[in-house]
Subunit: 301 residues, 2 copies
């Protein structure tokens, strides 16, 4: 699992800071999460292959999270894309993108499939044999979802020595990997645990931005390996938090601590502060495993 | 008169090349012309004060000429703007921008005034005491206008020695500057030309992008000081010109030559070529005064 931060600053794009966008690499998928203005340039700078992106998840329809999408959709066309592109985002996203394409008389020559979200409770929005994606309803000024990406539990690993010892035929291997016990010809039952090793623990990633402090997301994101949680402000700007429906670094850390996450990554920083290290300092008073997102930074698990 | 090129490359924004946008400084106005994705960052890099921009002219609704506009409009709000912003562009631009603002529940706190264009003939769209702006109807895949910016003829300059010699009262100075002759008390008529110098020649700038070769614009842009004309292709790609409705460097130079412009600035380059010098080489075979636009380059007259 690999998270490439393309942009992680609040509000407007600036010379050295980009609005929200990131790419999650999980089980051979490249999932693009949010798409602020300039995302396509950031994708190039980070040498991410455009053709490997087939799913785009948009948290909410504020400009700093989706004004890069019309340009990216157009660029896919110019690059000769023909594969389906799936876009998951709040209701209205389809109307916005199709209007912009219509005005430019620039329809895509690849299928653009919109999955518009309206649910106020967690919803399974993507599933294949290796990965699931659920929404995490958040609390912001407009309808907003975070996203929970989970690897599925993999097959158990065959203990080659054990199956050789019992002379078990290959025909039974898939059953064994699926967790089944084996009955030998003489009626002896070999429990699965003797024939296999535990599979690699499936990884999980929760993206939560933008949102005010919302402890009721904790049960859903309990024990995730990595939580990206917005921290627009420090505790000193607590008076701005309620009005803007953002979080402080301390609040992000409280969520991480209560949910017992592996690593907390902070981001969506207001540019009013001298250094983003201040966010880490504040969060680490509550929770030890804190990392700072920054544009171009890559986190590997 | 000063032209700051923010972006001058065709199609998608890339790491080192930006889509179309430029700022024309003329008679204390800063006019923003086109607004491709990333324009607000380019404005910052070029140290152009956002608050001095009150008029934005959009040639057409292809993404590389206007996908930076929603973000810029939002940023003006975040910067606390309260002055009117006037946006001139093809019909549909108001619906697009207002839909995006509505979806983000992010209305501007300054008046946003749209001037939607539909005319197929040149139209005076802006006028004050110093400057006029007219559309230049172009021929592209969608409805497109260039823009002709003209300084008005300034007042004649008072010849201080001459008015002193005839002992003309200050009360008549404005009439003299307006070109009137003066009748002295003894009935003698002093012709204006004896009391004034010619004013500075008013400057003019024509922006023509995107368009196929369209010689019928020549009468309108005759003798302009500077013509910015797109040259997406070289003559070797003549087969692409008709289909895409773009121009070659040679065609841009033919327009410049026939219109007897002062300087031709080329831009809107396809990124397929090794060097933009190739565009200059091709154009200079037709016309001598050719300059190359490039991102961040400033032309002063």
């Amino acid at each position: 699992m690999k998270i490439s931060i393309l942009g992680c600053y609040a509000a407007t794009p600036r010379t050295l800071t980009n609005p929200t966008s990131q790419v999650l690499e999980i089980k051979d998928h490249l999932f693009l999460i949010d798409c602020g203005e300039g995302t396509q340039v950031q994708l190039r700078k980070n040498k991410i292959k455009f053709s490997r992106i087939n799913h785009i998840f948009i948290s909410h329809l504020h400009g700093d999270h989706f004004f890069g999408l019309p340009g990216l959709v157009s660029t896919f066309r110019l690059l000769g894309r023909d594969k389906e592109m799936h876009i998951y985002g709040p209701k209205g996203i389809k109307e916005a993108i199709t209007l912009l394409l219509k005005l430019g008389d620039s329809w895509t020559n690849y299928p653009l499939v919109f999955h518009e979200l309206t649910a106020m409770v967690p919803e399974l929005i993507y599933e294949d044999d290796k990965v699931t994606v659920e929404t995490i309803p958040l609390n912001h000024r407009v309808y907003t979802n975070g996203f929970l990406f989970k690897e599925k539990v993999a097959e158990r690993k065959l203990n080659i020595e054990a199956v050789a010892k019992y002379k078990i035929d290959k025909a039974y291997f898939q059953n064994i990997k699926n967790g089944k016990d084996i009955v030998l010809d003489d009626g002896l039952i070999i429990p699965n645990v003797e024939l296999t090793f535990d599979p690699v623990k499936p990884k999980s990633y929760a993206f939560c931005s933008d949102t005010s402090y919302k402890p009721d997301i904790v049960p859903q994101i309990k024990n995730v390996d990595v939580l990206y949680h917005e921290s627009t402000f420090l505790n000193s700007e607590m008076h701005l938090v309620a009005k803007t429906k953002h979080s402080t670094a301390k609040e992000a850390a409280l969520i991480a601590k209560t949910a017992n996450v592996g690593t907390l990554i902070l981001g969506h920083y207001s540019t009013r502060y001298k250094s983003i290290e201040l966010f880490k300092d504040e969060a680490m008073k509550v929770y030890a495993n804190v990392e700072l997102a920054d544009d171009g930074k890559v986190f590997e698990l």
